[in-house]
Amino acid sequence: MAEMTYRDAVRGALREEMARDQRVILMGESITGYGGSYAVTKGLIEEFGPRRVMETPIAEAGIVGFAVGAAMGGLIPVAELMTVNFALLALDQIVNSAAKFHYMFGGQFSVPMVVRTVSGFGQLGPTHSQTFEGWFASVPGLKVVMPATPADAKGLLLAAMRDPDPVIFIEHSLLYSTRGEVADHEVGADEVPIGKARVAREGSDVTVLAYSRMLLQAMHAAEVLEREDGISCEVVDLRTLRPLDYPTMVRSVQRTHRLVVCGEDWRTGGFGASLLGEMQDRCFDDLDAPIQRVAMRDVPLPYSRELEKLLIPSSAQIVDAVRRLN
């Protein structure tokens, strides 16, 4: 085990897999000389050269389409879309190409590729502060991963690169500098399976479902609630948004009978909305109260610091949501 940042964990996974498997290539905007807009790919161009770390034009649809073709040709492309906001330009290639081909051509070939992108905030304004995981997670054929910890960032990215299906891997800009223990490099052993949630904190009064940055917010909220209200929260880190690990989530709710779903995307139509629906279906008789949600208000996130501050989903909002239940 070694302690490292979420950023270094992502880079570590890329480095190790590239060293292990010649088929792995990276492509994206400003990922070479610039080192990546969040410095994730820093140093990789020097280590692996331009054939394996490809600087691309600003052409998101082309990048993903190109990666799909490279995967069909036998490579394992990891395409970086600078932020999830720009992924909208590539949605056709993600949904109608990457997610469809294995099915549409009757299983003749698969599209082993990873789309790495990042969501997050910080006065980035209305067009640069969105998070569309709910959209990706609704598409059959895609696998969607959103790690919250350095260990998962590394382990899940390794699993993603070794998966035969297209995986959307969404990092979080506000997590890059967080630190945590990460398994050392042993092929296989360091892989975190796609599709498995993790009980990050055991509790008995209420289940809090979270992922990515919201996991940290939920853990903090749980401490506050323990201390101030004597409420025991069980926090589940989804880790993978498609496929979802319902067994782990349902088992928890069967014990706590209360549920709070946390996410950063818009309340209306966001990932949490869909998850809530599936959970009420599976846990209707176990639930003692309506499922509560913590989500982004339905507004294009404004630039102004003081407005943004009020809107970004926080541990305080999770605390309130849990209190509404008790």
Partner: protein, 371 residues
């Protein structure tokens, strides 16, 4: 910069010169007979497909290639069998020119389990990866960067294969066309972009889609060499693709070909064809590539009129058999409807996500197969 060769000139150069018996472009008589047969095969296959559509045995969209046969047949004959091929939804021609089993193609149109894609794709998505025919793509232009990506994989793995990527004039109005060409040029990739300029993008005329009428001009912004050929003349297409393939294979980067052609039928079976006049269609029908190449075969003593007629008969019998086969084939088993959503379905209850090596190989192996 683009060297534009006008159809006439090309034709001139190909047939002209060295004596009636000797064949141009290093072609053998057998190759010519095969190419003639394939064009007839596509024509008859589609006549039957249209008939089956009228009988509601084929559904959805059916885009006929009739009139454009020389493009697919000439191009694929000039390529190597292990070169990779991608086309758009008007794709029966590519599949049959690549030698895919007409039975399995027809069965796919019928939506049967015996179809090339087990009825999942239908007419727009024929594919046979064992022949490096990667299929028909139905989002206009989407397969242009995909073809560039495959070409990169070939270059990266130091394969000799080139990629042939077919699309229409209408596709050049979509941004994805430019993103794909730009990348192919930036990385000097072995891909031949073949634009079938049939003067229409569904109901839009070329003038409504593009300020330039020669699509090869659009390759200039990428310093991509290009050729314009007569898409109604198999030999003109063959010659252009032969040059392009040699160019790509020798590591000189991408190549752009514009084939001037015309679809004799509507855009799809639903097309009322109000946007073009019958007279124009009639004029183009006079350039029908099949009798035209048939005449060449006769003139060059490759086949006699009788032999050509014989080919037509044989092909027609084969097509009747293909229709019978498709019609009698079983439907896909409903219990398989979820198959192939994922190459590796994950059951959250199940085993760790570690990937069984077996699951990853297909794509890679198949590429290998094409060595």
């Amino acid at each position: 910069m683009a060297t534009s060769e006008r159809p006439a000139r090309t034709r001139g150069r190909t047939n002209g010169g060295s004596g009636r018996k000797e064949l141009p472009l290093g072609l053998t008589a057998q190759q010519c007979r095969d190419m003639y047969r394939r064009m007839v095969l596509i024509r008859h296959f589609e006549d039957h497909a249209a008939e089956a559509y009228a009988q509601a045995k084929v559904g959805g969209f059916l885009h006929l290639y009739i009139g454009e046969e020389a493009v697919a047949v000439g191009a694929l004959a000039a390529a190597r069998p292990d070169d990779h091929v991608l086309g758009h939804y008007r794709d029966h021609g590519y599949a049959l020119a690549r030698g895919c089993d007409p039975k399995a193609c027809m069965a796919e149109l019928f939506g049967r389990d015996t179809g090339l894609c087990h009825g999942r794709g239908g007419s727009m998505h024929l594919a046979d990866v064992t022949r490096n025919y990667w299929g028909g793509y139905a989002i206009v232009g989407s397969h242009i960067p995909i073809g560039a990506g495959m070409a990169y994989a070939m270059q990266y793995q130091q394969r000799e294969q080139v990629v042939l990527d077919f699309f229409g004039d209408g596709a050049t109005g979509n941004g994805i066309f430019h993103e794909g060409l730009n990348m192919a040029a930036l990385w000097n990739l072995p891909v031949i972009f073949i634009c079938e300029n049939n003067l229409y993008g569904m109901g839009a005329t070329l003038a409504e889609e593009s300020p330039v009428k020669d699509m090869i001009i659009k390759a200039e912004g990428y310093t991509m060499p290009s050729l314009q050929c007569d898409g109604m003349d198999l030999l003109s297409v063959y010659e252009a693709v032969q040059k392009a393939a040699e160019h790509c294979r020798s590591g000189k980067g991408p190549f752009f070909i514009e084939a001037l052609t015309y679809r004799f039928r509507g855009h799809s079976m639903a097309d009322p064809e109000l946007y073009r006049d019958k007279e124009e269609v009639r004029r183009w029908r006079e350039l029908d590539p099949i009798p035209r190449f048939g005449q060449f075969c006769v003139e060059h003593r490759i086949s006699s009129e009788q032999e050509l007629a014989q080919v037509t008969e044989e092909v027609e019998a084969e097509m009747l058999e293909a229709v019978r086969f498709a019609d009698q084939s079983p439907w896909p088993d409903p219990s398989t409807v979820d198959d192939w959503i994922y190459a590796k379905p994950i059951d959250p209850e199940g085993e760790s996500g570690a990937r069984p090596a077996a699951l990853r190989e297909p794509a890679a192996q198949r590429a290998e197969a094409g060595r």
